[in-house]
Amino acid sequence: MSTFAEPIVAEQGTPKKTAIIDTDVHIVMPDSDTLLKYLPKQWHRHHEISGARGHVKSGYPRLHKMRLDAFPPTGKAPGTDLAFLQHQLLDEWDIDYGMLTPLTGAGGQVNLEYGAAQALAINDWQAEEWVALEPRLKGSILVPYEDGDLTAREIDRMGDHPDFVQVLLASRTKSPLGHRKYWKMYEAAERHELPIAIHFGGRGGGPITGAGWPSHYIEDHTGVSQALQNHIASLVYEGVFERFPTLKIVMIEGGFAWLRPLMWRLDECWRRLGEEVPHVQRPPSEYVREHIWISTQPVEEPPDPAYFEQLLDQMDMNDRVMFATDYPHWDFDAPSQALPRGLNAGLREAIMSENARKLYRLD
């Protein structure tokens, strides 16, 4: 099969328009008052005297975090204003659906109960002020993922809401995601037929690389794929996909070129060392191809476009790759430019919209 082809031209001579589904749209609460509106009363005093406390908050200073044109007229942060987002993202690019991925750190709170309260508040805010008002937007259920019971409780509370399409985690958790402490979350996700999405970010408390703390934001940003690679190794080798055969995992904002060499490596290690994990019944790459979906942004840009074709052919996951913009962050991928020219029309359509439409059961 060839990934690249001559552009397909419709009979009338006009190129067929490709539908767009954006699997990574960031929104954020505009202020503390909004949070207090949704935060359960018993946590208000806690919020005032302590507030959000995760691990190692300083992170990495960066020169630019947001698209500079994404600040709404209200003067608040990008991603706080529905009307502006509708205009700048959904209308301008004619996007069918956008998956909301609010990054609040609810799952990374050192106080798990407060994290649960914060997750609940963010979820109710999404429900009321975003997805209820704009049918093109779909919500993600935030959870205090370091605690299985609290997480299952929030998934059960939100799981049947028709406009919430997945559970959202940050990539740097306290343990690799195959660990049994996360199994109650997977049980709940299966119960409600919701995929688990893992997005760039998070603070588990330990260094963000297996070699200790790096110094610069570029290392932090490039390094997210290493967290995702370890999560896949963990999910496969801990037998999560044997125990939860309908579980679907979505990886967001880590690119995807690393996935193919990772599958080779996991398979090779399994052939030699698989006896240690007898619950793993099949070559790891089979589980990956069945259970993992992956978003494009920041899209791979190899020096030779032929490498992009080789990459997709080798991955053999054309029905699993989903377009994302990462709006309104600095490294936004424009729908018109993210995929290389010359990609065959059917595959372009699958990546730009249809793979996500199928996964998230959208019209």
């Binding site: 343990s175 690389t209 297996g210 290493q226 370890n230 690393w258 030699r272």
Partner: protein, 356 residues
């Protein structure tokens, strides 16, 4: 390809042969009295990074275990018999992964490193001219590590300094400058090898449960080291620095080149010392040993991934003796490559890199 004639007469340089200190007693002749007493009177048996569980299939290929011969890799006889003679190896690079870097007592770590290097000289490098050594250092204290490099660095039998891939902080950090400075001064390469026990988890998200998970995930730690060395400017501060990545796989490198080149376009104002595309630094300064290959079973895909390195210079042959990656010589080199590229990977890239 095990015999030279099967390789069309091409020479072979093996860049990853493990010689192992299996008992602390082995080092007593090379340790000061104080540390000999310490060893005899304590329950210290030497550093244990638990890099390879004793019974794990990857630790030792079964047929290397010979009754009464001691653990594979513990004596020169075994390496001569099981590697150098079998493969008709022109040069073998010893990669002693004695984890002096993981001893919390830094003075002891440094003393152990000194002893290991003396042992390597006496028992391995002096008797066997086909072998070249790696200087073991206590890298948790870069100043003491640099002193050890000064001590051994003028001996031509040593060609590199070996460091565990799992470090306290990534190697691009300024704290390691004394090590790189000493290595460059003595024209030594830096070998970064699988393993280590710095005290923090091997993944960005906590501790792996199983050894297979830890082993497979270690390629991510190698990636972090490459990113750090480039982004934190080690190659700008030390333009002569040469780094070999050993037993970490290589097929992940093209994707990392694309990723870091792209991020550099957007973020290079954060790290203004990185003047060229990151992949240019990688191609110039970094080499990788081939074992474990971690490649597709499809020959066309193997050729593609090697082609995506955009360099003929980066890969160096290794057996990773006595670890169990392959059973037949053919499995040790699963890529069907043009003669000229084979020649480079078999020997010439290593000859150039290690100045042999």
């Amino acid at each position: 390809m095990q015999r030279k004639e099967d390789r069309g007469g091409q020479p072979l340089i093996d860049c990853d042969i493990h010689n192992a200190v299996t008992l602390l007693d082995t080092l007593y002749p090379y340790l000061p009295d104080h540390w000999v007493d310490y060893g005899k009177n304590s329950k210290f048996f030497g550093p244990d990074a638990s890099d390879y569980p004793a019974g794990s299939p990857i630790k030792t290929r079964p047929d290397f275990k010979v009754e009464g011969a001691g653990p594979p890799g513990s004596t020169l006889d075994q390496v001569q018999d099981q590697v150098l003679d079998t493969w008709e190896t022109e040069y073998g690079i010893l990669t002693c992964i004695y984890q002096a870097s993981c001893v919390h007592n830094e003075d002891l770590g440094a003393a152990l490193a000194t002893a290991v290097n003396a042992w390597q000289m006496e028992k391995w490098l002096e008797p066997e001219p086909r072998l070249r050594g790696s200087i073991v250092v206590a890298s948790q204290n870069p100043k003491l590590a640099a002193q050890e490099i000064e001590r051994c660095g003028d001996n031509p039998a040593f060609v590199q300094v070996i460091l565990p891939v799992r470090s306290l902080v990534p190697y691009g950090n300024h704290r390691y400058d004394p090590i790189f400075e000493a290595a460059v001064r003595h024209d030594l390469a830096i070998g970064i090898h699988y393993g280590g026990a710095p005290g923090h988890p091997s993944t960005p998200s906590g501790w792996a449960t199983s050894f297979i998970e830890e082993y497979a995930g270690m390629s991510g730690v190698f990636q972090a080291q490459v990113v750090s060395l480039v982004a934190e400017g080690a190659f700008n501060r030390f333009p002569e620095l040469r780094v070999a990545l050993i037993e970490g796989g290589f097929t992940w490198l093209p994707s990392l080149m694309w990723r870091l080149d792209k991020d550099w376009k957007g973020l290079r104002s954060d790290t203004p010392w990185v003047k060229e595309r990151p992949s240019e630094y990688m191609r110039r300064h970094i080499r990788l040993t081939v074992q474990p290959w971690n490649v597709s079973s499809d020959q066309a895909q193997i050729q593609q991934i090697i082609g995506q390195l955009d360099s003929d210079e980066m890969l160096m042959f290794s057996t990773d003796y006595p670890h169990w990656h392959f059973d037949t010589p053919e499995e040790a080199f699963p890529a069907d490559l043009p003669e000229s590229l084979r020649h480079k990977i078999y020997s010439e890239n290593a000859r150039e890199f290690y100045r042999l």
